[in-house]
């Protein structure tokens, strides 16, 4: 067997992780399951990355770009006039007339970015942000668009972006999972949005909480992380006992056939350490009052998302590679005025708090924060109430901060109403390619062989948007 191959390569080549060709080599190298999850893929990063980790603030449902970050004065001027060009394919029925944004926009910072009154706190951070106003996809239904955004495919079952990144770069802390998703929805693709598909299962996200569940002050939001009926001292004795029993059952020299069982015993030690370390990381009660205030914790509207954002910072500090922080449910076919305001209020302060906190800790330099959704919304009205917007995958806004992107920058444009991305268009695949690039990964070279062919997150597409890189 080629001595140059790393264990990790062997594991991946085996496709199935442990339990195959790799075992002989595993044995020789004193396999450790901890290493299997923390070790990078050989040759990765492909080049020095600007970001070490990602925090993805995901706004499930699709916030309206023209009511948040993509200012379109024409909408007010031509409010209630028909759309002066062909009706695009959208999800529900008739395209109504143009609908002015109910919110005022104002310019912020030295960069002078326009931000609506839905996001006054994020507005104050615009000089750290790159806006991409020309994101576009093709799927106008939540499920398909969610899958496209998370896995690059709305047609086939594919690994999610976080799983690819975990597979490529491993974790920075072997006592914690490399990919965490917080309060995910189980609709619209569900676990596939944070699954590993054909990648080794260790790369699927560990869930913390569920959509609709409040994040607790401390404790076990990760499944099976604690056992209230068993004290730690007993678990420690159990672990020693387990190792002894295993030695008694399998004495003598080790062969390749023993490597998997050895690794399994080690996995109990790792789990024991994880059980000790993870609750500490997940415990936000020890954060200072001023930090809690910064995130809007203990205020009704912002408490829950504030906790999530603070947890995201703690997890990223502790070395988790990819953290997705989910927020639902921005699907305002009607009640736009009330619901968008309510939802934006829930996240505005926590997000700004996260950006400021990361910055003051020096973490923003190598942490890539991404804000976005599965699609945006139409600049036209939907429904009789004249207070709703339909799905729109043809042009919407993402923004990024930290992790090597430009500060106070805006890229790409939609038309004067905000319907289509028209200039410097950035496709979902391009977004993926760019995120990988910022992490030091060439999206064309991060591949996995499955069912007879090599797969990529970006399939055969993707362009790195160099223009936004600082």
């Amino acid at each position: 067997m080629n001595a140059e191959l790393t264990r990790r390569e062997l594991l991946n080549r085996a496709g199935a992780g442990f339990g195959s060709i790799a075992l002989a080599d595993l044995l020789i190298r004193q396999a450790s399951v901890a290493e299997a999850s923390s070790e990078k893929l050989a040759g990765l990063p492909h080049f020095p990355g600007r970001a070490k980790r990602v925090i993805f603030l995901f706004m499930h449902g699709g916030p309206s770009q023209v009511d948040t970050f993509d200012y379109k004065p024409q909408l007010s001027i031509r409010n209630n006039e028909p759309l002066p060009f062909a009706k695009p394919r959208v999800q529900f029925g008739q395209t109504g007339n143009l609908l002015a944004s109910p919110w005022k926009f104002r310019q912020y910072g030295e960069s002078g970015a326009w931000v609506s009154d839905l996001f006054p706190n994020v507005g104050r951070c615009v000089d750290d942000i790159t806006f991409i106003k020309s994101l576009h996809g093709s799927n106008e239904a939540h499920g398909g668009a969610m899958l496209k955004m998370h896995t690059g495919s709305d047609t086939f079952v594919r690994p999610s972006m976080g799983a690819w990144i975990s597979y490529g770069l491993g974790t920075e802390n072997e006592n914690l999972p490399s990919f965490v998703t917080m309060s995910p929805t189980l609709g619209h693709g569900g676990v596939q949005n944070f699954g590993s598909a054909f990648l080794p299962p260790i790369h699927q996200a560990t869930r913390v909480g569920m959509r609709g569940e409040a994040i607790k002050e401390s404790g076990a939001a990760i499944n099976n992380l604690t056992n209230e009926s068993v004290p730690n001292s007993i678990q420690a004795s159990q672990l020693e006992f387990l190792k002894d029993l295993d030695r008694l059952k399998r004495p003598g020299a080790r062969t390749s056939a023993d490597a998997e069982m050895d690794a399994r015993i080690e996995s109990f030690e790792l789990a024991f350490r994880m059980q000790t370390e993870a609750p500490e990381v997940l415990d936000i009660s020890r954060e200072s009052k001023s930090i809690r205030r910064l995130y809007g914790i203990d205020e009704d509207a912002t408490d829950n998302y504030g906790r999530q954002c603070l947890l995201a910072r703690r997890l990223s500090e502790a070395g988790v590679r990819f953290i997705q922080v989910n927020h639902s449910y921005w699907d305002q076919h009607r009640d736009l005025k009330d619901k968008h305001l309510e939802l934006a209020t829930q996240v505005d302060k926590p997000i700004a708090g996260l950006l400021m906190d990361l910055k003051q800790r020096g973490l923003l330099d190598d942490t890539l924060v991404i804000w976005g959704a599965e699609f945006g919304r139409t600049p036209t009205v939907q429904g009789a109430s004249k207070d709703g917007r339909d799905h729109n995958p043809h042009g919407f806004t993402y923004w990024m901060a930290g992790g090597g992107v430009k500060r106070g920058f805006s890229y790409g444009e939609t038309d004067e109403f905000g319907y289509y991305a028209t200039h410097d268009k950035v496709h979902v695949h391009d977004l993926h390619a760019t995120i990988l690039h910022l992490l030091g990964v060439d999206h064309e070279r991060l591949t996995y062989r499955y069912g007879g062919r090599d797969f990529r997150l970006t399939d055969v597409e993707g362009r790195v948007v160099d223009e936004i890189i600082a």
Partner: protein, 820 residues
């Protein structure tokens, strides 16, 4: 400011403020725009297109197109395509100049051109023979090169599509026909063996294995002990550990054929179908919710699951098993209504896949469903990854895009979806029932009448007829619905039916919006049809039945081989061909090709009986070998490719869970029926499999993706698995139950040595007697835990706590989840 609505669709619309203020080289005359121009402020009309970057040509598209078509394209075709196009035998330098994006990206030497900058373009340098010398057979005329310079100066307008043509390299049909797996299954004679080895030969399987072992200088492992054997056989055939009595009976039975009788008992157990049905369900991506975009419940999927379990228990010949799932609805309808219903239920296999129900492009939805069916059927039954040929000829295997669309036509001519509404609905069909038919009779005449009226109204609506009245339609829908609710309902199954027979054109790059010109007649893949032609498909049928019979034919070179390879894998942990769902050119040839062929023909000779295959394999000395590794042998054959010994195997998620419940004495063996939620104590196969919210116990133990064909469960080791053993409510509760049950049989106070209880626990969990060293360590552990009284527990509670900890550790141990 300008908005242009392009006549060719949305991509041509655009507006760009910067162009308004900095017009470049706008031509003064010949103004022409595709489609309609609507000026917003409109002081000036300008030309632009999303096809261009800022500094590219802005003259009218048709003028530029004309230039390209008359001056550029003919030159490319004449002088370059031979070596630089999809049609090239070998694409030189990785460069294609036959479509736009490749032209811009260039080949191995980098981008071919920089629009607006001829001097910086490799293309011009090459044409001038300043870098490469192209074309190699002589420089082109200066005027021609000047045209290219002009073209690039003006922005290198290129009206050709971005579609990279699929043809990567032509299929080498002759080489493909020589591939071992595509050849007819050969009649192999089991090799001779030495008299001295007769102990090691129980049936011909052993002769094949022994020959390779002896040739390589290995000895086969000795037979495993009886306790190991019954544990292995029981987990293998029914997915559960043997009971105390079963072990004891086998130990007591010293007559010849004792093990054969164990195998027979297990094969006739109703739990057999639950174990082997689960294997099959992996292949056909069974689940109880749709997954994909809209995770609707599939409330009748369980009927297909129960069909699989029943048919395997009945040992339905595998060829029939395949045919019924592909085309049960097209077979002669039996008189017996249960049998007739079964044939419909079987076709649920085609319907249970994930579908993009809210995809609004319904043509795309349908062709994606067809693709999903092809992928599942071809990988499951043929061991071929035909799905790769959806977008282009298969990169590795002799499956062309034409082959793919010949198959796709068959599934396209099959109705899988009941309707294509905003959120579409899959097909369900009523199970035939004379009883319900009779009960419905009194309503039927009126129902038919009202239903007919409803159809008439819908028809009017569809034709935009003047007399159509929306309120009348609504009213009629209500009438029909109410009437329907009064009638006793038929039981429904997920099933397909024939649709209009349709041939498809090749979808270029898999896109239903870019179709090839010719229709591809529905047919079987060429390379396989050359070995076994099958029936041709007529004009009046989908071809599904013909496909089914062709797959299930003894003449098909793949089907039987693929199936026996899987059966071997489920008995040995590893397959003979290590890629069980890919027997294509990429598949590694098996070290024992003769054994594979012999088994395949045995399967056919035994009328495709799966249970006969179990008997054959399990009665072999090879199956019964010990799994104990021998150090020096492992170094020479680290992956046990030669079957020197049995493989040690980790159990899958389902038997682990079932064994934990059984340890606590809580496993409920009630079979069949609707899927249970995850707290149920029935066997795991009866739990609801939610594609969008898979239970974390399953995903932690490597049952990760219920939306696609699973060829083989991976075996990974992760801390999440350990956390499950340490902390999950399931293990915690069942361990405590076990502890309680054990303690009920023994003294309730500590101080005695507990030896008998420890032995009882071992017998129950591991089917063996503990070693003395183990007993000593266990006693020490119990004493340590019992001594911890910081919680002020009563002695009896402390004892229970210690025994619960002991049982948790027993369940956590390797021995619990590995089969030797």
């Amino acid at each position: 400011m300008l908005v242009v609505t392009g006549g060719e669709g949305r991509d041509l619309r655009m507006h760009d403020k910067r162009r308004t203020s900095h017009p470049k080289r706008a031509w003064p005359s010949g103004v022409f725009l595709p489609g309609i121009a609507i000026s917003v402020f409109a002081p000036l009309l300008l030309f632009s297109s999303t096809l261009f970057a800022d500094d590219r040509d802005q003259r009218p598209l048709d003028t530029q197109a004309e230039f390209f078509e008359s001056r550029i394209r003919p030159v490319l075709v004449e002088h370059c395509y031979e070596c630089h196009s999809a049609e090239s035998k070998i694409v030189r330098g990785g460069l294609q100049v036959d479509h736009r994006s490749a032209m811009h990206e260039g080949g191995d030497s980098g981008p071919l051109l920089v629009p607006g900058n001829p001097d910086g373009s490799l293309l011009i340098a090459s044409l001038k023979h300043q870098s490469f010398e192209m074309p190699p057979d002589g420089k082109l005329a200066d005027e021609v090169i000047a045209d290219f310079v002009t073209w690039i100066e003006r922005g290198a307008f290129d009206p050709r599509s971005d579609v990279r043509h699929g043809k990567l390299k032509p299929v080498d049909w002759e080489a493909a026909a020589e591939h071992w797996a595509f050849k007819k299954i050969a009649n192999r004679v089991p090799p001779e063996y030495d008299e001295a080895d007769s102990e090691q030969v129980k049936n011909p399987i052993d002769q094949f294995v022994l020959r390779k072992l002896r040739d390589s200088g290995f000895r086969p492992a000795p037979s495993a002990g009886k306790r190991t054997l019954i544990r292995r056989a029981t987990f293998d055939l029914i997915g559960l550990p043997p009971t105390l009595d079963e072990v004891q009976n086998f130990l007591n039975d010293e007559s010849p054929g004792a093990f054969d009788r164990v195998v027979e008992r297990l094969l006739s157990s109703p739990q057999y179908g639950e174990r082997w049905g689960r294997h099959w369900l992996d292949l056909v991506r069974y689940a109880n919710t749709n997954g994909a975009d809209e995770n609707h419940s599939l409330p009748n999927a369980w009927r297909y699951r129960d069909w699989v379990i029943r048919k395997l228990n009945d040992d339905l010949p595998l060829d029939d098993f395949f045919v019924q799932q592909l085309a049960g609805d097209l077979l002669p309808v039996p008189d017996d209504e249960v049998a007739a219903g079964d044939l419909l239920t079987a076709t649920g296999m085609l319907v249970i896949g994930p579908k993009m129900l809210a995809e609004q492009d319904k043509d795309k939805m349908i062709i994606d469903i067809v693709d999903e069916q092809i992928d599942t059927v071809s990988r499951t039954m043929l061991g071929l990854t035909v799905g790769c040929a959806r977008c282009h000829d298969h990169k590795f295997d002799p499956v062309s895009a034409e082959d793919y669309y010949a198959l796709a036509g068959i599934f396209y001519s099959t109705k899988t979806m009941a309707h294509k509404g905003h959120v579409s609905m899959w097909m369900e069909r009523p199970l035939p029932s004379k009883e319900i038919h009779t009960q419905r009779l009194p309503f039927q005449a009126r129902f038919d009448q009202e239903q007919a009226k409803l159809h008439r109204l819908r028809d009017l609506k569809g034709r935009d007829d003047q007399s159509f009245d929306a309120s009348e339609l609504k009213q009629q829908q209500k009438v029909v619905k109410e009437l329907e609710q009064q009638m006793p309902p038929y039981q429904m199954v997920m099933a397909v039916e024939e649709s209009e027979p349709t041939d498809l054109a090749v979808h270029i790059r898999g896109n239903h919006l870019t179709l090839g010109t010719d229709l591809v007649p529905r047919a079987m893949p060429k390379v396989l049809a050359s070995v076994h032609a099958g029936e041709s498909i007529g004009q009046t049928t989908s071809g599904r039945l013909e496909l089914a019979r062709w797959i299930a034919s003894p003449e098909n070179p793949l089907t039987a081989r693929v199936m026996v390879n899987r059966v071997w894998m489920w008995h040995f942990g590893k397959a003979l061909v290590r890629s069980p769902s890919n027997f294509g050119l990429q598949a590694e040839p098996p070290p024992h090709p003769e054994l594979l062929d012999w088994l395949a023909l045995e399967l056919i000779r035994n009328r495709w009986s799966l249970k006969e295959m179990h008997r054959l394999i399990m009665r072999s000395a090879t199956y019964q070998m010990d799994s104990q590794p021998i150090v020096e042998d492992e170094e020479r054959d680290p992956d046990n490719r030669l079957w020197r010994r049995q493989n040690r195997r980790r159990l899958e998620a389902e038997p682990i869970r079932d064994a934990v419940l059984m340890a606590g004495g809580n496993l409920d063996l009630t079979p069949g029926n609707e899927a249970d939620d995850k707290d149920s104590s029935r066997r795991a196969i009866y739990l609801k499999i939610n594609r969008s919210a898979l239970d974390e116990m399953f995903s932690a133990f490597d049952y990760v993706e219920p939306a696609t064909h699973i060829s083989q469960r991976p075996t990974t080791v992760t801390p999440q698995q350990a956390l499950f053993m340490m902390n999950s409510p399931l293990v915690t509760e069942q361990a405590e139950n076990l502890a309680k049950q054990l303690l009920q049989r023994g003294p309730l106070s500590s101080g005695v040595d507990d030896r008998e209880l420890i032995q009882m626990a071992f017998a129950r969990l591991y089917s063996r007697i503990p070693m003395e060293s183990e007993v000593v360590r266990i006693q020490q552990f119990l004493a340590t835990i019992e001594a911890q009284d910081e919680m002020g527990l009563k002695p009896a509670d402390r004892r229970l706590r210690a025994w619960s900890a002991l049982c948790r550790t027993f369940i956590s141990a390797n021995e619990f989840i590995y089969v030797e």
